[in-house]
């Protein structure tokens, strides 16, 4: 038997103390942890069940900010009326993620901790080499089946794609993750692999995500999330884009724009070069398409994922133009 200790935390404080134990892992919705334990990737010494902690599932939304408790279910956030009207990209990203069953189980905090779908990462028995699992062991994906792998933010150590949707929207709108002692921008919370592929998040032993805060903005109110994939539902993005748009009073000049991509990078990917190229410009198709190409600055493909370099900017452009049409 793969035995582990099970602890139920009734308070955030208790969870933090337990999370500092060696080999401890938090259990919330369980959709990632149980899955990874089954494929032999996660072998926790202690599982700390935080799902019973009171007060961590509230969703408070004003025009200034949304504060979403870490234990709020994906489906509840997606269906929240204020989230839908003030942060539509967040709701759309959630609706297009996973399946109805998973969204009903998975929590917002857990969603940020979702691991990559890289098939080599998920199969330790057949592919022992994986720098994410075993630092220094190498990368089985490079030279292998790479159709789903990242073209941005990769390193020689790892090319695994960040698979999520929600965090892409969060990154676009400068959301923060609340770790108690610290608050971090979500963009900084996720780490590109570099030489330390095993470190995916800036989270320390004993830290527990308690909430996500998203600043309100005109761009967030006029936002969308487009996800492209072969299957209509229940598939990770081939490429996705979270876009927010604010126009000047003339209805065509771009005052503020937020651009983030999913499915193409090792972390939720903010594309500031596209934003900078479009701010102050008139919104027209040619300008948007040309600027969207900048999202792929520095992209490196590994063969079968080459199409993402063409696809990513098209998704960005489509989302911007869609928002432009809804003036």
């Amino acid at each position: 038997m793969r035995d582990f200790a099970y602890l139920r935390a009734d308070s955030v404080e208790a969870a933090r103390n337990a999370a500092a134990l060696p080999g401890a892992m938090l259990l919330a919705g369980g959709t990632t942890l149980v899955d990874l334990a089954k494929c032999g990737v996660a072998e926790p010494a202690t599982v700390i069940d935080i799902s019973h902690i009171e007060g961590l599932s509230a969703i408070n939304v004003t025009s200034d900010r949304a504060v979403i408790g870490a234990l709020a279910k994906m489906s509840h956030v997606a269906d929240n009326a204020e989230v839908k009207s003030l942060f539509p990209a967040v709701s759309e990203a959630l609706w297009q993620a996973a399946s109805a069953q998973l969204r009903n189980m998975a929590t917002i905090g857990g969603n940020l901790m979702q691991r990559t779908r890289c098939p080599y990462f998920r199969d330790p028995q057949n592919f022992p080499a994986c720098n994410k699992r075993a630092p220094g062991s190498g990368c089985s994906a490079i030279g292998g089946v790479t159709r789903g792998h990242a073209v941005l933010g990769t390193s020689e150590a790892c090319i695994a794609t960040y698979p999520g949707d929600l965090a892409v929207a969060l990154v676009a709108f400068d959301a923060e993750v609340d770790l108690g002692e610290r608050k971090l921008r979500v963009e900084d919370f996720f780490l590109a692999p570099g030489a330390t592929a095993e470190q995916e998040h800036d989270i320390r032993p004993g830290e527990v995500i308690t909430a996500i805060e998203i600043p309100g903005s005109a761009a967030a109110r006029r936002s969308t999330y487009i996800k492209v994939r072969d299957r209509q539902s229940y598939e990770f993005a081939a490429a996705s884009a979270a876009i927010g748009l604010e126009l000047e009073g003339d209805g065509r000049t771009i005052r503020d724009i937020r651009v983030a991509l999913g499915g193409v990078a090792t972390k939720p990917w903010r594309a500031r070069a596209v934003e900078d190229a479009l701010k102050g410009k008139a919104l027209d198709e040619n300008t948007v398409r040309k600027a969207s190409e900048l999202a792929m600055e520095g992209a490196v493909d590994h063969g079968a994922n080459h199409y993402k370099i063409a696809l990513g900017p098209r998704v960005v452009a489509r989302a911007i133009l869609k928002l432009g049409e809804t003036a």
């Binding site: 038997m1 793969r2 032999g40 779908r117 098939p119 080599y120 199969d123 028995q125 057949n126 592919f127 030279g143 292998g144 089946v145 159709r147 492209v228 994939r229 072969d230 299957r231 209509q232 539902s233 229940y234 598939e235 081939a238 080459h306 199409y307 063409a310 696809l311 098209r314 998704v315 452009a317 489509r318």
Partner: protein
């Protein structure tokens, strides 16, 4: 063995009960409420659990296995390796050919594919077995593997002469034809992907073996177990009450089955072994990857002068699978000159197997794509092109069709779809960013025939039992056999219970090749008729019968009540009559075999496929037919293909239950959508290993991917195909869907995709 409460399933309308009525699935309530217990859900005293250890290399030798850590792990009862597992005898193949080897070891020393079973752990609990299996250490001497058909080491393969079909001078006629196309089509390795995994529970009691295992062929699998363990066939009982999807994959006892049965014998305890999801991609074969080239030469009016076809499918290093790629190519269109040849190439894979319409499915992708390409080449409407070359008889067998309602299918489908409104030019229909395309393709499947037997019992209370070792894997056997017995006997369908899935019942051959409904309705019709004859005979002649004095020639049963045809004399329920006769039951066993069939021939008929009746036997060529009309929407920027409309007109002859037939057709169409757009076993070429062997990464269509599907039955009863006039249903509808979609994608985009699946990167 299962009895369904028919009262819940039957509807008010009496018409539903008869053959041809739209009776809902009688097993539906049990499945929906969880009352249906599948094979491996049986609760047995002392059950142990086995977990397999798979090879992590694709080719080479096992040099050592260290089992010490596993053996001392908590709960472990045994660790089986090639050295310690009990020796089995070789078993004959499914044709009944004697084994090439004397002994059989289901755990291998010579690895020929990644994931092949090397060892197994048996423990008191499943979790203990899983944990201990991870402790088994295997060392290998790895050798280079041939990973797939495109491997440089694969070569041209082995010619399969039996697949060669030729008439006229195809090469010369092609060379002279004024209009020509020559193109190559590829289909990937695909998997049956049944929701219910493979697995079994094996229990020995002395030298009697009971196996609970999902099965498309109880008698065939029972024979294999009997031969492996050198026990009489009668000593093996296979139980398979429900099957959670087979699609061709569950007709044979496989290596993992042998491991479980051997472990049960060694431990003298029942053993449960269920493959985990990745093992379901490596423990038995899916559809072989295929390559075809199709060359068609035609005159300027579009009349085909020649078809030259070459095909290749992958097979295993240690097993042979031929996916007959010329099967549709050779019969769909009239041509004076034809040549089709096929090779197989050995690669390091588990031996491929049957997946819904093996042969016909990839064959149709080739010919139905190619004829579409030729239509565009000639500026002809793709539907018109097909009608110009309509085959009035079987071009290969040179025999008339028993029935071929394909012209009617084209007409009905085109009308319902609105084909006449199609804009002929590719890329000429759009809705915003969506390029719209309309495509057509035809499909066909041969009428495979065999024999079956059934027992029909009339019980004292007037209820009726039907018993057969055939199975229901969702296609509706429980339901249509109840309908057949009810109609034949003249009783309400809720008085009939059907028992299937136990090899101790009356025998049946394989449930595959869309043959079961035709075979078993015939057998039940016969058995029920015999039971009715006996009942009426007794009623007329037995001194205790109230009808005896009537001096009538015959009696009638209607709604479970028996009376003379003109109504004079008494009218009794069957129960009242049985009571008067003092009988507790009347039993008849009926079969469709000739009366002089020997016991040996009967055994062979049910336990091998050697006695299947060719579809071109005698004066007729027998096939089901269909025409698919498909609309796709392709995003011009993203390359994503969405099927937005399907209209299919199908000729399966007479339908025993139209509701269930439509359901099977739709299932085939849905599976075809998956094949066209999503499904592909992706191999890591360095390791020869499938890397997407799970349901998150092996893409199957979700509900969101499936539009409304309209099916139209254009069949007429075909007396040459089955006792009651039906032709095959289950496999037909998948044939032709993939080319219809590919043709629609071309119409939408102007891009011809000849490699399935049509994923977005092929269109951007």
């Amino acid at each position: 063995m299962t009895v369904h409460d028919m009262k819940h399933a039957a509807s008010d309308s009496a018409r539903l009960e008869a053959v041809g009525g739209r009776l809902s699935r009688v097993d539906g309530p049990a499945k929906i409420t969880g009352a249906a217990h599948y094979a491996v859900e049986q609760q047995l005293e002392g059950l142990t659990h086995a977990v397999l250890v798979g090879a992590t290399i694709a080719a080479g030798k096992v040099t050592a296995i260290d089992t010490r850590a596993a053996e001392t792990a908590p709960g472990v009862l045994a660790v089986l390796t090639p050295d310690t597992i009990t020796e089995l005898k070789g078993a004959s193949d499914w044709f009944g050919n004697p084994p090439g080897v004397q002994t059989y070891c289901p755990l291998v020393r010579e690895v020929t594919f990644s994931g092949q079973h090397v060892a197994a752990v048996v423990a008191e609990t499943f979790e203990q077995a899983v944990a201990a299996a991870a402790l088994v250490k295997v060392w290998y001497d790895e050798t280079p593997a041939i990973v797939d058909l495109s491997d440089g080491k694969a070569g041209d393969g082995i010619p399969i002469d039996a697949m060669t079909k030729e008439w006229g001078d195809a090469q010369a006629a092609f060379a002279e034809a004024p209009a020509r196309i020559c193109t190559a089509y590829n289909t990937p390795r695909e998997f049956q992907a049944a929701m219910e995994p493979h697995g079994l529970i094996a229990r020995w009691q002395g030298d009697e073996l009971t196996i609970w295992e999902p099965s498309q062929w109880l008698d065939g699998m029972a024979r294999t177990y009997a031969e492996w363990f050198s026990v009489p066939f009668e000593n093996v009982r296979l139980v398979s009450p429900y099957i959670g999807g087979g699609f061709g994959s569950k007709a044979l006892a496989l290596a993992h089955s042998a491991v479980a049965a051997a472990a049960a014998k060694m431990l003298d305890r029942p053993v449960k072994l269920v493959l985990n999801r990745p093992q379901n991609f490596t423990s038995y074969g899916g559809r072989a990857a295929t390559r075809q080239t199709v060359a068609i030469g035609a005159d300027r009016e579009g009349r085909i002068q020649s078809i030259v076809h070459r095909g290749v499918n992958e097979t295993a290093v240690d097993g042979m699978w031929v996916e007959p790629l010329g099967s549709v190519t050779s019969i769909m269109y009239a041509t004076p000159n034809f040549s089709s040849k096929q090779n197989v190439v050995r690669v390091n894979t588990v031996v491929p197997g049957a997946k819904r319409a093996p042969g016909e499915n990839p064959s149709a992708f080739g010919i139905e794509s190619a004829i579409d390409e030729l239509a565009y080449e000639l500026g002809l409407d793709p539907l018109e092109m097909r009608l110009i070359n309509y085959a009035e008889q079987d071009p290969h067998a040179k025999k008339p069709w028993s029935t071929r309602q394909l012209r009617e299918a084209f007409a009905a489908g085109a009308d319902a779809f609105g084909w006449a409104k199609r804009s002929p030019q590719p890329r000429s229909m759009r809705d915003g960013h969506q390029l719209i395309g309309w495509g057509v393709a035809a499909g066909t499947y041969p009428v495979r025939r065999a024999h079956g037997e059934a027992v029909v019992k009339i019980l004292a209370d007037g209820s009726v039992e039907v018993e057969s070792s055939s199975i229901d894997m969702g296609q509706g056997t429980y339901t249509i056999l109840a309908q057949t017995a009810a109609e034949t006997l003249g009783v309400p369908v809720e008085q009939v219970s059907v028992k299937l899935g136990d090899s101790h019942f009356a025998r049946a051959g394989v449930t595959g090749g869309s043959r079961l409904a035709g075979v078993m309705t015939g057998a039940v019709y016969k058995a029920a008729g015999q039971a009715l004859d006996e009942l009426i005979g007794l009623a007329l002649s037995d001194p205790r019968s109230p009808f005896q004095k009537l001096q009538a020639n015959t009696l009638q049963v209607r709604d479970g009540r028996i009376a003379s045809p003109r109504g004079e004399g008494p009218e009794l329920s069957i129960a009242e009559l049985m009571s008067a006769l003092g009988r507790d039951h009347i039993e008849a066993k009926g079969d469709t075999l000739p009366a002089n069939t020997t016991p040996e021939e009967r055994y062979k008929n049910y336990t091998t496929i050697a006695m299947s009746i060719p579809h071109t036997e005698g004066d007729w060529s027998r096939h089901s037919w269909c025409a698919h009309f498909v609309e796709v929407r392709v995003d011009e920027d993203f390359g994503t293909v969405r099927v937005s409309r399907v209209v299919s007109a199908l000729d399966s002859g007479r339908l025993y239950n139209p509701k269930l037939a439509e359901s099977q057709w739709k299932g085939g169409i849905i599976m075809g959508i998956g094949q066209a757009l999503l499904e592909e076993g992706i191999v890591d070429r360095r390791h020869g290993r499938i890397v997407n062997g799970n349901f998150a990464d092996y893409m199957l269509p979700t509900n969101a991917d499936i539009p409304d599907i309209q099916t139209i039955s254009v069949g007429i009863p075909d007396p040459h195909s089955s006792a009651l006039g039906g032709k095959g249903v289950g496999e037909l509808a998948i044939v032709g869907i993939a080319p219809a979609i590919a043709n629609a994608v071309f119409h939408a985009t102007g891009k011809r995709v000849r490699d399935l699946p049509i994923t977005l990167e092929k269109l951007i």
